[in-house]
C-alpha cells in the first residue's frame, strides 16, 4: 500500500472504523431536542400558572404531559422531574 504523510490506506481504514454511526434513535431524539425544549418551556410556564396541572404532573408525570397534548419524550420527562424535585 502506498503511504504519504504517515496516512497509508490501512491507517485511514482504522481511523474510519473509530467513527461508527450513533444509533438512529439517539440521533433522531437529539434532532428533536429544539422542539422538545420549546414544549418543555410551555409546560413549565403552565405548571407555574396552574396549580391543578402541577399536581397532575406530580401524581403521574407522563400521563399529565400526554394529556396536555405533548409527547412525553425522555428529555421532557427527565427535565420536568428535575424541575419538580428542585422546587
Amino acid at each position: 500500500m502506498s503511504e504519504m504523510n504517515g496516512f497509508d490506506e490501512e491507517r485511514i481504514g482504522r481511523l474510519l472504523r473509530l467513527l461508527p454511526p450513533a444509533p438512529e434513535g439517539w440521533v433522531r431524539a437529539a434532532q428533536e431536542l429544539p422542539a422538545a425544549r420549546a414544549a418543555l418551556d410551555e409546560l413549565v410556564v403552565r405548571a407555574e400558572q396552574d396549580a391543578t396541572f402541577r399536581l397532575q404532573l406530580q401524581a403521574d408525570l407522563e400521563r399529565a404531559v400526554a394529556a396536555a397534548g405533548y409527547e412525553p419524550s425522555p428529555f421532557i420527562v427527565s427535565r420536568l422531574r428535575q424541575l419538580l424535585r428542585t422546587d
Binding site: 504519504m4 490506506e9 485511514i12 474510519l16 473509530l18 467513527l19 450513533a22 439517539w26 437529539a30 429544539p34
Partner: protein
C-alpha cells in the same frame, strides 16, 4: 449533526466505555446543550473541541454518579482519554475528506469500515456484484487518501 453525533458517540463508548443507556443520557445532554449554544458555535473548528470537552466532562460526571451507587475504579486515565481524543480528531479529519470524496465511494467505505457490513450486504444494497466490492474499496481508499493528502498539503504552511 450526523458527523458530530459519531464523534460524541465514540467518546462516550470508546473513551469512557459507558453502557449504552448511560451513553445515551450523555449523548442527549451534549446535544441539548449544543443546541442552546448553537448561535455561538459557528465553525467546525469551534464546535469540535467544545463538544469534546463537554462530552468528556459529562461522561466523568456520569461515571462518578454511577460510582456512588456501585463503587468502582472505572474512571479512565486522563492521558488515555487525551490520546483517544487526538486519534478521534484525526478520524474526524479523515471523515471530512470522505464526505468530499462523494458517492459511491463515500457510501462503500462507510458501510465497510464504519458499519462493518460484508461485501455481500454492500453489494446487495448498492446493486453491485459482491465480487467487485473488494477492488472498489481499494480504489475508493486510494481516492480518499488523495483527497486527504490534498487537504493536508493545502493546510500546511509553505
Amino acid at each position: 449533526m450526523e458527523r458530530f453525533s459519531r464523534y460524541v458517540y465514540a467518546i462516550c463508548g470508546r473513551g469512557f466505555r459507558l453502557a449504552q443507556h448511560d451513553a445515551e443520557d450523555v449523548f442527549q445532554e451534549v446535544f441539548a446543550r449544543a443546541f442552546e449554544r448553537l448561535s455561538e458555535l459557528r465553525s467546525d473548528e469551534a464546535v469540535r473541541p467544545w463538544l469534546a470537552q463537554l462530552t468528556r466532562r459529562l461522561c466523568i460526571d456520569k461515571l462518578r454518579l454511577l460510582a456512588r451507587d456501585t463503587p468502582s475504579d472505572a474512571e479512565p486515565d486522563e492521558r488515555e482519554v487525551d490520546d483517544l481524543l487526538a486519534t478521534l480528531d484525526e478520524a474526524m479529519t479523515v471523515r471530512a475528506a470522505l464526505d468530499n470524496v462523494g458517492d459511491p465511494c463515500r457510501e462503500i467505505l462507510d458501510r465497510f469500515f464504519c458499519r462493518d457490513e460484508s461485501y455481500r450486504t454492500i453489494g446487495d444494497v448498492l446493486s453491485m456484484p459482491a465480487g467487485t466490492i473488494a477492488s472498489r474499496i481499494s480504489r475508493c481508499l486510494e481516492k480518499l487518501r488523495s483527497e486527504f493528502d490534498g487537504r493536508n498539503q493545502g493546510s500546511r504552511p509553505s
